[in-house]
Amino acid sequence: MNSAPFSTLLPPPKKESSPTVASAHQSPENQGDEPVAGIVFDSLQPDGIPNVSFQDFIPIRQRDFNMEIPLPSKQDIEQTFQRTKAYFDKLLNNKPATNSRPSTDARSGKGNYIEYKTTDALTNKSTSRIIKIVDHVADPLQPSQIKRKKVVAPPTDEPVAPILHSATEKLTKEQREQWRIPSAVSNWKNPNGYAIDLEKRIAIDGRYNREGTAIPAVNEKLLELTNALEEAESKAREEVRNRAEARKQEAEQQVRLKEDKLRELAQRSREERQRKRRQPIDHEEYDESAIIRQTERNEKRDQMKNDMRLSKLSTADRLRVLAHAQGRDVSEKIILGAAKPSEVPDVHYDSRLLTKGAGTAVPGAPEQVYDGPLFAQNAMDRLYKPARFTGPENDALDILSKMTSEQRFEDQDPGTSVDQQQTSPGMQKSDAKQDSEHDLKRT
């Protein structure tokens, strides 16, 4: 073939050999003229891709129903046997047996003897040793120690077998939809806090169908049950409402009766008053001193009652009462002596440091003239430290009795009474008493 000197402008062919009829499959063709179905190689088809004919798909039994397919004859079997046996004998002779048992020589202690000669380079003296070679005794039941490698299919020059079946059908959209399994979404757990679509939530719920619209049909009996329940409930509610109504009406009736009675009473009293007003008033002489005495008596009784109450209290309560009377709120810890003044650290911070984080409202450095507080911190602590009740309970009682007694007897002294009013705690009590007196007088 002249592949044309002029066609050099085009790129040279990659494969020089032109596709020809595959020799292996043509050979039966040349022998006889009988039609042969099967793989046919087409000279016009490049790259040795086999051509498939329609005949390949027609079962040959249809063409010739009474076709005899005899079993292989004995001669055939014998021939194949000989051929294969020769081949495998050759293979087996070449191949060392993997699990061959230790040779009888090793077991009987016999071995091959080898004469091993060495020559010393310096002295040029040769020494010979006789070495016995014995097979290592191996456990006959031990599996093969030879590691096997995966057999990789060797590259073949054979043509690719034509695919003689139709392509698998593609799934339709409906079928694909049927195979789709919704991702597992839990109504109870969502540790990563993903936002889950409402649709997906509905999809999980077995009560809804895929579209999330229709609720599956309810059992008819269940429907009856719910209806009956509903009816019974409404009936019961009606009854309850009626009863409540009746009770309410009864209550209203009673209220009305009572009101009527009251009105009658009021009317009667009004009439009485009018009748009295019409009568002339005769002024009785009230003894003023008697009233005063009466009030004093009352006062003393109250006082005694109060004292009685105080004497019954425990010391702590008594102290609390005392403190309350003085207008102080004292916690229990202080009363019991358990509280300690908070310890102040030796290091003192600049107040600006502490107020820095408070915000911009705090005046800046220029306004703040002083670095530290005016008083030493220790002195401040001492200034506001509450006085301690150092002694036992008796002391407290003494103080109390002193306070109460003070009030009683210092009342006579008008000169000191002004100072007493300002300082002593007992005075406040008397103030309160005076107030109550005023109230009495007013009424």
Partner: protein, 425 residues
């Protein structure tokens, strides 16, 4: 003179400068033609033929000369013309299936504690059979009475296949624990282990004339072992998925294997490569069964059973197997009955020659077993072909027999209405 020289000059110039434009180089043409359909190519070829006849000697167009005639191509079209659909249909209708007696359940054998995965009948005197199970045991049962004879323990995982030798006192078992074991049936012990498989072994078979066994499994290679030396003599690689079943024949192809890659391969043992790959099946080919009376075999995938003429592997019959579901197992007997056991517990019986389904049965689930445990996993006919043994997922072995006294009139079987539709591709 001048004119003539001009003419010559012009011609020479034209040829030298633009000659390459008038024809397309061969390899470009090939590439173009590879994209054409077969009909188009045939038309082109005819055109070329016609053009060759009316060729002129002084044309500028370069003529390459007729290539060797693609006789095969011609034959294909001639063949197609011969077989019109109508003619074929008439042919099919004239092929009446043979009547076979219907089958019924006669015995249920219990004893395994796992799925029963494989069964093999004693080839010598048809007196006993062995089953392998998910409970990793092999049990040998008496065929006549159904009594347990012996339990063989040694495998540590599911026993997937068993074959019993007619020439030695040996039984071979393949298991998912990557081992093929050789049992001595005179002593009931393991005498050989065949180590070296990379993954679970799914199938094992003995060569009918040589002392070789052939195993295949999840590592998608067929291994040929020498029984005596326990060495792996040959490894046949070629399948692209786990192999489900491998069976041996005394003549070429000496090994037939079917695989999850939806192919059946016929192997040339001496050459060590596949003679033929059958790609008609669309899905996982789970089982194949040889016909004991003629030199052919059947193979099954989901909804599809086909039989093949042997040696060259031509399509012989398309079985009437629509809507059959997953077919786990096939068995064929001397009377021309092909049995297919489905994954859903459906038993189908076919006439081997025509592919007619004459009986459909449902297995009876063992009381107490689940609905999902209804499935046939393995099956075989005994050597007489009169009893069918099925191994099932409900841990039982069932024996089926002909219905006594059944005639064609009393049990006509499923109706025969052939259609060309089932010539699926």
């Amino acid at each position: 003179m001048n004119e003539h020289s001009d003419d010559v000059y012009v011609r020479a110039r034209l040829r030298n400068q633009f000659g390459y434009m008038t024809w397309v180089p061969e390899y470009v043409e090939d590439r173009i033609s590879s994209k054409k359909g077969i009909l188009q190519r045939y038309e082109d070829y005819q055109q070329k033929q016609a053009k060759a006849q009316e060729v002129k000697t002084d044309s500028l167009v370069k003529y390459e000369g007729a290539k060797d005639v693609p006789r095969n191509l011609l034959r294909i079209y001639r063949g197609e013309a011969d077989t019109s659909a109508l003619a074929r249909y008439e042919e099919v209708v004239s092929q009446k299936p043979q009547w076979h007696a219907p089958w019924k359940l006669t015995r249920v054998i219990n004893g395994h504690t796992g799925w029963v995965r494989c069964v093999c009948v004693d080839p010598v005197d048809n007196a006993w059979f062995a089953t392998g199970s998910n409970d990793s045991t092999i049990r040998v049962w008496d065929l006549a009475t159904g009594k347990l004879k012996v339990t063989l323990q040694g495998h540590i995982m599911t026993v997937r296949d068993i074959c019993i030798s007619a020439r030695h006192p040996y039984m071979f078992s393949a298991s998912q624990d990557k081992l093929v074991k050789c049992w001595d049936l005179e002593r009931n012990t393991v005498v050989r282990d065949f180590h070296g498989t990379l993954s679970g072994v799914h199938s094992v078979d003995l060569h009918p004339s040589l002392d070789l066994i052939v195993s295949a499994g999840r590592d998608s290679v067929v291994r040929v072992w020498d029984i005596r030396s326990r060495s792996c003599v040959l490894t046949l690689a070629g399948h692209r998925g786990p192999i489900n079943k491998v069976r041996c024949l005394p003549v070429d192809p000496q090994i037939v294997s079917c695989s999850t890659d939806a192919t059946v391969k016929l192997w040339d043992l001496v050459a060590g490569k596949p003679m033929k790959t059958l790609t008609h099946h669309k899905r996982n080919v789970r089982d194949l069964a040889f016909n004991p009376t003629e030199f052919s075999f059947a193979s099954a995938c989901t909804d599809d059973i086909r039989s093949w003429k042997l040696v060259d592997g031509q399509l012989l019959t398309n079985f009437n197997s629509e809507a059959l579901g997953i077919v786990n197992t096939l068995a064929c007997n001397q009377d021309g009955v092909l049995f297919a056991g489905g994954d859903t517990g459906e038993l189908s019986f076919f006439d081997y020659k025509t592919g007619h389904k004459f009986q459909k049965l449902e297995t009876t689930a063992m009381p107490g077993s689940l609905e999902s445990e209804k499935g046939v996993l393995a099956s075989t006919f005994d050597r007489t072909g009169l009893r069918l043994l099925t191994c099932e997922r409900d841990k039982s072995i069932k024996i089926w027999k002909h219905i006594d006294g059944a005639t064609q009139d009393s049990h006509p079987g499923l109706p025969w209405n052939p259609s060309l539709v089932r010539q699926r591709f």
